[in-house]
């Protein structure tokens, strides 16, 4: 499979001078299209920083982040925002749904940000995702009227609406109970198999990481392990 995203010798330092804190040091790895990968590490190890860099939400202090063979360090904020919207879906620990909008409106937001009009085709896509997510008939509900698990599933639907190359998920089940956690990972796996969408999941939970095909371990800002599970 072709390479989707790659970090080349990436450093990230916050602050300057005496107060400078090095979050990542010389991180190099790549992820192919359709890979189901996790990043594990303790709190403060730098795994979320790495995810933000790969998601073009932040820029490295040194090194390069490549997305579909494009060197993103050459892009300005506007171009990075555009590329992010087209290529990457995000799922965060907190659902971050817009409480002013309905479920369908929340899910179609990335399309509208990308300048697409919402027509029949897009509505069908939303309905298909709602079925996949087990949220049939809830499209017109306000996002605030759903349970925690439902909200996180809507956030997953929002991440998938653009058919992104990869979904970056930062502790996506950190706020969910065990049954919702299982259903979210089953959903990720189903989408990965059915649509070929790549997943990069940041977690501190080894059990969750074991469910992925490849585990990257970050410790004190360095990539210390890159192993493939038996599923691959």
């Amino acid at each position: 499979m072709p390479e989707l995203v790659a970090a080349h010798d990436v450093d990230k330092t916050y602050g300057e001078g005496d107060t400078a804190t090095r979050a990542l040091t010389s991180v190099t790895f790549s992820i192919d299209e359709g890979e189901f990968t996790s990043i594990v590490g303790q709190s403060g190890s730098g795994k979320s920083t790495l995810l933000n860099l790969l998601g073009l939400l932040d820029t490295p202090t040194q090194g390069r982040v490549m997305l579909r063979d494009q060197d993103t360090s050459q892009l300005d904020r506007r171009q990075r925002a555009g590329l992010r919207g087209e290529t990457i879906g995000f799922v965060f620990q907190f659902h971050h749904l817009l409480p002013e909008f309905s479920v369908t409106e929340n899910m179609t937001m990335p399309l509208r940000i990308g300048g697409q009009k919402i027509g029949d085709e897009e509505r069908e896509r939303v309905d298909g995702l709602l079925d996949l997510l087990g949220l049939e008939g809830l499209g017109d509900k306000n996002a605030n009227d759903l349970s925690g698990g439902q909200k996180q599933r809507v956030a997953i639907g929002r991440a998938l609406i653009n058919d992104p190359g990869i979904v970056l998920a930062d502790e996506p089940t950190g706020n969910l109970d065990t049954s919702n956690t299982d259903s979210v990972y089953r959903l990720f796996r189903d989408v990965n198999k059915e649509r070929g969408t790549g997943f990069l999941i940041v977690t501190h939970d080894r059990v969750v990481a074991e469910m992925t095909d490849r585990i990257l371990e970050v410790r004190d800002g360095e990539l210390v392990q890159d192993v493939r599970n038996g599923y691959a």
Binding site: S48, D58, R78, F90, P110, R112, I113
Partner: protein, 371 residues
């Protein structure tokens, strides 16, 4: 447009706050419209009562030399001049009982009416300036005890006396004019002053815009002619009007500042409340400029809605004032209302600069990493 739809939804989600600020803008704009219209109407009425029924420019011969009627015809060539009439003026004295001085203007009935509007102001008798007929003010008529049809004997400037018939009594709305002003037929004054057929004391002129009189007066200046402009003669009144306009503008400016602070604080609060939403929208690919536009559009919606409400409130206030027990009418000034609308919306947009900028600078990571 996505930014507009998000802006509208953000405002609707805090409907109480939105309604309050729209009402606040509305009250501010209404006060602006009402105060502005009140001051404008007051000033218009004051100027109208001062010079509406009197000459705006008077041309007299230097050293009291007589002036020709052709000067009036020449003055009519100026586009702003609406009326220019030759008149003869003299002082006279009524000496039966009390001694009452009169300032007598002699002229053709139609001409005199075009400046003084006397035919509309006759309260007793009729408007006529036929040979030997005189029109006197209501104050003089009461003091002297004369009424239409009575004979009036006046001491003339040469010491002789003249007998005239009172044709009518007028009310010019000002006590000084009603006590001392009188109008006589042109021929009688010519006889009293010994003037020839084409010899007049003054040319009295009105222009379409009373405040253009100084400029027109400058153009009418000529050798042997002294030009008297009402604005030069009424400097105190004009400086009073200017002070009134200044204080009115200051009140309106403070109202606008209050409106601007209201919108700015609402948007600032809104920007803080919606930080999470803006952050996630940016994470999903919304550009800095588009996210900044959300607050600009919120300000535009608040501004347009508030100003529209303000115009309605303003008209209601003006209408309400018509029931006040005062002999004065506030007229809405369309120009002023347009300015209030434009300035109100501009102020609203300006108020959004700070929240728009802070929003466009927001880093989505700050939001994503917090709950």
């Amino acid at each position: 447009m996505l930014a507009l739809s998000i802006a509208a939804r953000f405002l609707r989600s805090s409907s109480g706050q939105t309604s309050l600020i729209i009402a606040g803008i509305g009250v501010g704009i209404a006060v602006q419209i009402f105060v502005g219209s009140l001051i404008t109407s007051l000033q218009d009425d004051l100027v109208e009562s001062t010079v509406g029924s009197s000459p705006h420019i008077t041309l007299v011969g230097v050293d009291d030399q007589p002036i020709s009627a052709t000067v009036a015809e020449d003055a009519m060539d100026q586009p702003e001049v609406t009326t220019a009439i030759p008149v003869r003026r003299m002082s006279a004295l009524y000496v039966e009982g009390d001694s009452l001085p009169l300032s007598v203007t002699g002229g053709d009935a139609v001409d005199v009416d075009s400046i003084y509007g006397l035919s509309e102001r006759i309260v007793d008798g009729r408007y006529s300036l036929d040979d030997g007929e005189i029109l006197v003010g209501i104050g003089f008529a009461e003091t002297a005890g004369v009424e239409p049809g009575d004979s009036l004997s006046l001491v003339l400037p040469d010491g002789g006396s003249g007998e005239y018939t009172v044709a009518g009594v007028f009310d010019l709305g000002a006590a000084a004019a009603n006590d001392r002003q009188a109008f006589l037929d042109a021929g009688s004054v010519a006889d009293a002053l010994g003037l020839g057929e084409d010899e007049f004391s003054a040319i009295e002129i009105q222009v379409d815009d009373v405040f253009a009189s100084t400029e027109v007066a400058g153009r009418l200046a000529a050798d042997g002619i002294e030009v008297i402009d009402w604005q030069t003669e009424n400097e105190e009144l004009l400086s009073g009007l200017a002070a009134q306009s200044g204080s009115s503008i200051m009140i309106q400016a403070f109202v606008l500042v209050a409106v601007a602070l209201g919108i700015a604080s609402t948007l600032a609060i809104n920007a803080v409340q919606k930080t999470r939403q803006i952050g996630i929208l940016k994470a999903m690919g919304m550009t800095d400029a588009a996210s900044g536009r959300i607050f600009l559009l919120q300000a535009l919606i608040l501004g347009v809605a508030g100003v529209a409400l303000g115009v309605v409130f303003g008209y209601v206030l003006i209408w309400g004032f018509s029931f006040a027990p005062v002999d004065f009418e506030v007229r809405p000034s369309p120009g002023l209302i347009l300015i209030s609308v434009a300035v109100g919306i501009a102020v609203a947009l300006a108020s959004s600069i700070i929240p728009s900028r802070s929003t466009s600078r927001l880093d989505p990571i700050e939001v994503i990493q917090s709950a």
